[in-house]
Amino acid sequence: MSRSSIDPRQAVVADRLAAVDRVIGVTGSKGGIGKSVVAATLALSLADRGVAVGLFDLDFTSPSDHVVLGVDRSFPEEVFGIEPHRVHGIDMMSVAFFAGDAPVPMRGDAATSALLELLAITRWGDLDVLILDMPPGLGDTNFDVIHLLPRLEFLLVGNGSRVVVESVRRALNLFKELKVQMVGLLENMHRGRSSAVADLAGEFDVPFLGSIPYEPDLEEALGDADRLRATQLYAAVRPEIIDPRPGPALRDSAHR
């Protein structure tokens, strides 16, 4: 008796994350709205409060969490699989640890395969929260994590620009259709009096996680954990924004 060819990696994804309590994908429908800065700073904030946190940079073609946190790139240690780097109390994994500065042009299928490989070999161990820094957009990787990680919750980042608000609305509609668990909607780079992002959260009945003020000098803090800790961004991404757990499902609101 035989079976046709099987990709064995999927068989261990659940095992590798068995001791991880929550998996939160920090996502956004557009590039340049600060997903990586939010994801990495949230991880730092959680680690500083004693939360066991992992940070997995899934933006394979343009990884940047290591830049935000000021991490030296080096190959991870091999044990039974590979060990994430421990950085400022965060367990961290990124293709930047392997590829250095080289550009990594990849189509969706290749990114899916790279994601599966890293899920199959990375030893995350006991974590309260694993944060996934998603690539921009609503493409392949978003579907991959939805399919591969049934416990996934999304934390959606947006801002008040009309260009972005329109795209956040699309994302909320998609996540509602896909019945994705939502931590909530977080506004980044808030300026002026616009309440467009908070209003969207209300309209879709997802928790509004607050507004991070626009900080002109945030750039100066990137790469330096101590300076990041002094930013308004760090103050805004306090651990409470991802509690109460787990986030209410959009499917609940859809049935009301």
């Binding site: 990709d7 044990v79 039974f80 990849m106 490989e117 199959a120 070999i121």
Partner: protein, 140 residues
Amino acid sequence: MHELALADSVVKAALRAADDAGISSIERIVVKVGELQQIEKDLFEFSLTNVIPTEEERLAGAIFDVSEERVRFECRSCGNEYGRNDVDIDDEDRAEAVHFIPELSHAYARCPLCGSPDFDITAGRGITLERIEGSGADEP
């Protein structure tokens, strides 16, 4: 060794496939090791025998049949097909990166005809469970 984690995935996938096919005694597990990932066949066979759970009776008599598969790239720009000797991934850091994540070949490999980094890996990428053979209670 990260080969152990991959071997573990093969054994778990084989057990899952056995469940699906109603196989209660697995006799043969056929595995392909892709050239691109640069995993030594002997080392992988050793890893496979080391990750079998001792209490797993379904695998008690199982033989691993491991063979190597040549890597093939197909250029999405000009259609050219090429192989391992046509790409420059021999530098130690490059080889190591591709060993962990074969898709990182996209950072280094280029089509030898047109120079494009836009290619598919059509064969010989990494570890594949080709099939399992065995018998089960529901066998005719």
